[in-house]
């Protein structure tokens, strides 16, 4: 394409947008809403995932042993557990350590526990704490451990991670559905905007065709119009979301001091590594699809 043709296309594309600005604004707003929601859900889902992963890593499966299991046998079980692919790491806790921890957690240094003196009430509480890579594979691991000799009991405290996981799934599905609907509406509105532009310029297009304009030459300004609308529609929510995200994170951490240290939000820059190209691609993509479909339909000779 010659520079003069590119320049011409650019000018015509912008002219189209200005000529039917009401439709243009309507498409931009819908698209902006769509991409804003994409960004919001993306941020939420990713943060929940992040938290879930943390919880998963911090909530171990605890394995207790039969009475009278020797240290060698316990070590052997430890080796077997470490060899499992779904296991992140295995920590051993002796009966004394278990009692120590329990005492700290529940008596918090009061003298009430002193009554037990050296008589460890948790004498059979030596255990392995098995940390998983993914919570989904917990059942698999538990089935395996149940098949092992000398295992008395397994404690699985997956509830928190499970709940978060299924909540995340719900959010994901709901957001996919809403986003799909909004994408369709955006395409429809862009297509509408472009077809108004085409009908306004019907005469001009007719003349162009008679003079020998190729389909692509006729189509290019409209495709460009769609792309520009898409780009603006993407830029607005992406910029807005950047600031909204930062301040929401700040607000949550300020309001709920408890969460500091437990809940770790993904930094906005990490989110935007994916969200920025995703949003722009989505905007331009919607714009192109909408305008391409419409020009294909209306610009036949």
């Amino acid at each position: 394409m010659r520079p003069s043709t590119i320049w011409y296309t650019l000018k015509q594309g912008i002219k189209n947008i200005r000529r039917n600005w009401m439709f243009s604004i309507a498409s931009i707003i819908t698209m902006a809403a769509c991409i804003f929601l994409v960004g919001t859900f993306y941020s939420i889902v990713n943060n929940i995932n992040n938290i879930t992963r943390k919880v998963e890593q911090e909530v171990p499966v605890t394995v207790f042993f039969d009475e009278g299991t020797t240290q060698e046998e316990i070590d052997e079980i430890g080796e077997l557990l470490k060899a499992r692919p779904e296991v992140a790491r295995v920590e051993f806790e002796s009966a004394d350590e278990a009692w120590e921890k329990f005492r700290e957690d529940y008596f918090q240094g009061s003298d009430a526990a002193e009554g037990f003196k050296d008589d460890n009430p948790l004498v059979n509480s030596a255990n392995y704490q098995v940390y998983l890579k993914e919570i989904e594979r917990q059942n698999q691991l538990i089935a395996y451990i149940q098949g092992l000799d000398h295992v008395r009991d397994i404690n699985q405290s997956e509830q928190a991670a499970r709940t978060l996981g299924s909540f995340n799934k719900l959010v994901s599905y709901a957001s996919i559905a809403i986003i799909a609907i909004l994408v369709l509406i955006s395409i429809f509105l862009i297509s509408n905007t472009i077809s108004v532009g085409i009908s306004v310029r019907k005469e001009e297009i007719g003349i162009m065709k008679l003079i020998g304009a190729t389909d692509n030459f006729v189509r290019a300004p409209f495709l460009l119009e769609g792309m520009v609308l898409g780009l603006i529609g993407a830029a607005i929510p992406l910029i807005t979301l950047y600031y909204v995200y930062t301040s929401v994170v700040e607000y949550i951490l300020n309001q709920f001091n408890v969460l500091t240290g437990i809940v770790d939000f993904i930094p906005v820059s990490t989110i935007y590594q994916v969200l920025l190209p995703l949003g722009i691609a989505l905007g331009i993509g919607i714009g192109l699809i909408g305008s391409f479909m419409t020009t294909k339909k209306h610009l036949k000779v």
Binding site: R2, S4, T5, E203, G212, A213
Partner: protein, 227 residues
């Protein structure tokens, strides 16, 4: 330059708009196609412009067969033609210069070429000093000159004129015809569809008469006879 062999075009049922037409036009010829409304002359022009496809027969223009021409090829083919219409078909929101330059932009000419070529062709049609005017500020004759300039700016092999004087008074019509003749003398093949009897009879050119889709006469230095 233009070759029609047994060409017919029908729209659905009823009489065909063009009925077994045979026509041969040499390079550099000036041809009038005359006939009353509904005689098929407009359809003929549309066939030549590949706006319509013939139902049967064979059309060859400037070495290109029009039947079965690929859609993509049509745009390139049309660049060999210059076309003017009764209603001028200028873009109202652009001035004379831009209207003519438009035809060059459409085919991707660089701006540098456009800047040189547009004043040249405006000079040829006698509108060099009105390049800044908008179509609505011009008389009918002047508008048709702009349309002619636009048709000629890409140096077409053939100029097709569909009732170019249909909206013009007799004096202006003569001027436009004189201009068409001049263009023809510079080597462009010109085909004019008209039902302006005075003009046809005064110019002593080849006249092809159509009636109900058929070519009923084809005379060198002919006259317009009412069928």
């Amino acid at each position: 330059m233009i070759d029609l062999v047994d060409v017919s075009k029908s729209y659905g049922k009823g009489l065909p708009a063009v009925n077994h037409a045979n026509l041969h036009v040499e390079k550099g010829e000036f041809v009038f196609v005359v006939g009353s409304s509904g005689s098929g002359k407009s359809t003929l022009i549309k066939l030549l412009m590949k706006e319509l496809d013939s139902t049967s027969g064979r059309i060859t223009v400037s070495g290109e067969r029009l039947e079965g021409m690929k859609h993509r090829r049509v745009a390139k083919y049309r660049r060999k033609l210059g076309v003017v219409f009764q209603d001028f078909r200028l873009l109202r929101d652009r001035n004379v210069y831009e209207n003519v330059a438009f035809a060059q932009r459409v085919i991707g000419r660089p701006t540098r070429v456009i800047r040189k070529r547009v004043p040249e062709v405006l000079q040829e049609v006698g509108l060099a000093n009105k390049y800044k005017s908008y179509p609505d500020e011009l008389s009918g004759g002047e508008q048709q000159r702009v349309a002619l300039a636009r048709a000629l700016v890409n140096r077409p092999d053939i100029l097709l004129a569909d009732e170019p004087t249909g909206n013009l008074d007799p004096r202006t019509s003569e001027e436009i015809m004189a201009l068409l003749e001049e263009i023809n003398q510079r080597g462009t093949t010109v085909l004019v569809v008209t039902h302006n009897r005075e003009i046809v009879n005064s110019m002593k050119k080849r006249v092809v008469t159509m009636h109900e889709g058929m070519i009923i006469s084809d005379e060198k230095e002919g006259e317009y006879h009412e069928a």
